[in-house]
């Protein structure tokens, strides 16, 4: 009798285990599939615009959605070479690299100082930075326009570069400071007793530890600078305009050459897309740090 009971018991629990196991698995794999679906759904609009760059005018305007077509590079050729817009990309590059390099060189030591030293008025700096972060770009754009006009710098590169510094520098200091905060202050102390000055400790002991942080901040800053629209529009001339600022002017009420616009937009987006994949790991860390730590 007891053996029978025993048999019944184990079979029941085994069945339960099996069923539980499968249920869970089904749920999990469903979520994976749904996630994949969702990701594709999100990518689709951009991919579609991306594809427009490779279509001819008639293909774009055709009422039915064309899934397969013979891709053409005519739009790219037209927009980049014939109209010479490849220069815009160089402009974006010049502005981004200049602004970001300057901000890294100045911002990283400053962030270290904010992390290690008691700075009077830290709160007020914070408030001011936050206020500027929140205010529309116009707030700074107008006075900068006036000043640069007076100085005769409108349309030159220094103008947008300086404008970009206004939002890049706080970002660099903000993020680097939280990276520095993560390094225990004892390491500074250890290096200083080991025979380094504060500067020496900073260069030889601390900096190597934030290398990946600096890379992440640099790449992020380049992305933000690349994407910037208003300053790039107002403070530049046709010769110095970055790519992002030029695109909207190609969109006219009538007769817009969508293929070319799409092509330009694609070229403007590619560097960012590439950088994102280079930044994979830092992205998550950077986001949660910067976000949660405020």
């Amino acid at each position: 009798m007891r053996e029978e009971f025993a048999l019944i018991d184990t079979t029941k629990s085994e069945k339960k285990k099996e069923r539980y196991f499968t249920n869970d698995r089904i749920l999990r794999w469903t979520s994976y599939v749904l996630t994949l679906f969702m990701v594709l759904l999100f990518l689709f609009p951009w991919l579609w615009v991306f594809s427009l760059g490779f279509k001819t005018r008639t293909e774009i305007l055709s009422p039915t959605i064309v899934w397969l077509w013979k891709p053409t590079l005519a739009n790219f050729h037209e927009v980049l070479i014939v109209k010479g817009y490849w220069k815009l990309i160089i402009n974006s590059l010049i502005i981004a690299v200049s602004a970001v390099s300057l901000c890294i060189i100045i911002g990283v030591p400053t962030a270290y100082a904010f992390s290690r030293f008691p700075i009077p008025g830290k709160e007020s700096w914070f408030y001011m930075i936050l206020t500027f972060r929140m205010a529309p770009a116009v707030v700074l754009a107008l006075p900068l326009y006036i000043i640069f006009a007076r100085l005769g710098l409108l349309g030159t590169f220094p103008a947008p570069i300086i404008a970009h510094i206004t939002f890049t520098l706080p970002f660099v200091i903000w993020l680097m400071r939280s990276f520095f905060d993560d390094i225990p202050k004892e390491i500074d102390a250890a290096a200083m007793t080991d025979g380094y000055t504060r500067t020496g400790a900073f260069i030889h002991a601390i900096l190597p530890l934030v290398k990946s942080g600096i890379v992440a901040v640099t790449l992020f800053s380049i992305i933000f600078s690349w994407n910037e629209f208003l300053y790039g529009l107002i403070l530049t001339s046709d010769a110095t305009r970055p790519v992002a600022s030029q695109i909207p002017s190609l969109i006219r009420p009538h007769g817009t050459l969508w293929g070319e616009v799409a092509a330009l937009a694609t070229v403007a987006s590619l560097p960012v897309a590439i950088l994102i994949f280079a930044l994979q790991r830092s992205l998550v860390r950077g986001l949660s740090f910067g976000a949660v730590k405020g």
């Binding site: 749904l34 951009w46 107008l142 504060r198």
Partner: protein
């Protein structure tokens, strides 16, 4: 050794640079706000006119409208992005754990220039060949182009903005979820909680800080939003999508009334600083309450 002067060495380049590029424009704007400076008005040549610009501002109904539009955009956007972002995070968390590469893919819309996102919006909603616009137009659901309709333009902008930023919210929440401790879940399991209860009682409280931070960032950005709106509607039709930023742009760089524009940006700046202070204090209060709990 650790004297004031020494600290100054470290901080001065940034401090000087900052003061220059912030203070000087600030003072410039302040002085201009009290003068008449307009490229379109031939009588205005920089004479001092006291608070005339401010007076004009106070009586401009479009100014108040821009605030209304901003809030009409901000509230639904935040609610939508928060809810959808949460849903997406819950769905994604498992898959992301397996395939970290999903994160950069999801963040693509967020990190692309808003101009391109705006372009995506324009193209999709195009009534002739846009993948969504076509369908809406042909099926008779809408009579005019979405972006030309005073009723539909703002929702369209909210939708496009959400397209760009919901993944951001979702990724922050996902990152938060992946870092959640296991113990509360094990305790809930031992206590016999079902999936819904676990969600409400364990997941939500733990995720709450991340949600607040993500949405706070969105609130901060709400006043800045410009690029998308400019590309899609230029603030129109009429002024139905004219947020504060767009209104400011129109009056400064379209009408070229620099005096009025300066007054405008001064007022906006003051408004934002008050908002920041309020938000900051609320955040402090909330944080100290939350940590006590």
């Amino acid at each position: 050794m650790k004297s004031r002067k020494y600290i100054w060495w470290w901080v001065s380049p940034a401090a000087i640079l900052f003061l220059l590029i912030i203070l000087v424009p600030f003072i410039t704007a302040l002085t201009y706000s009290f003068r008449a400076y307009s490229f379109t008005d031939s009588t205005a040549h920089g004479q001092f006119i006291g608070v005339e610009n401010y007076r004009k501002l106070v009586f401009d109904s479009d100014f108040y409208n821009s605030f209304k539009v901003t809030f009409l955009y901000m509230i639904p956007a935040i609610v939508f992005q928060g809810a959808l972002g949460l849903g997406m995070a819950l769905l994604m968390a498992g898959a992301v754990r397996r395939a970290r590469i999903l994160i950069p893919i999801m963040l693509l819309p967020t990190l692309l220039t808003p101009v391109v996102i705006g372009l995506v919006g324009v193209l999709i909603l195009n009534p002739d060949f846009g993948i969504v616009g076509q369908f809406l137009f042909r099926s008779g659901l809408i009579k005019e182009a979405v972006l030309g309709s005073t009723k539909l333009a703002l929702p369209a902008i909210i939708a496009v903005d959400s397209y760009q930023w919901t993944p951001f919210v979702a990724v922050i929440l996902t990152a938060g979820m992946l870092g959640l401790p296991k113990e509360p879940y094990e305790a809930a399991q031992v206590d016999g909680a079902n999936k819904w209860q676990t969600f409400i009682r364990v997941t939500m409280p733990l995720l709450w800080p991340y949600l607040v931070v993500a949405l706070l960032i969105r609130v901060i950005d709400a006043f800045r939003i410009f690029d998308i709106i400019w590309v899609m509607t230029r603030g129109g039709p009429g002024i139905s999508t004219e947020t504060v930023a767009v209104y400011a742009y129109r009056h400064t760089f379209r009408f070229w009334d620099l005096g009025y524009g300066s007054a405008l940006i001064m007022v906006i700046f003051v408004f934002i600083s008050i908002l920041v202070e309020y938000l900051y204090k609320a955040l402090q209060r909330w944080q100290s309450n939350g940590s006590a709990a």
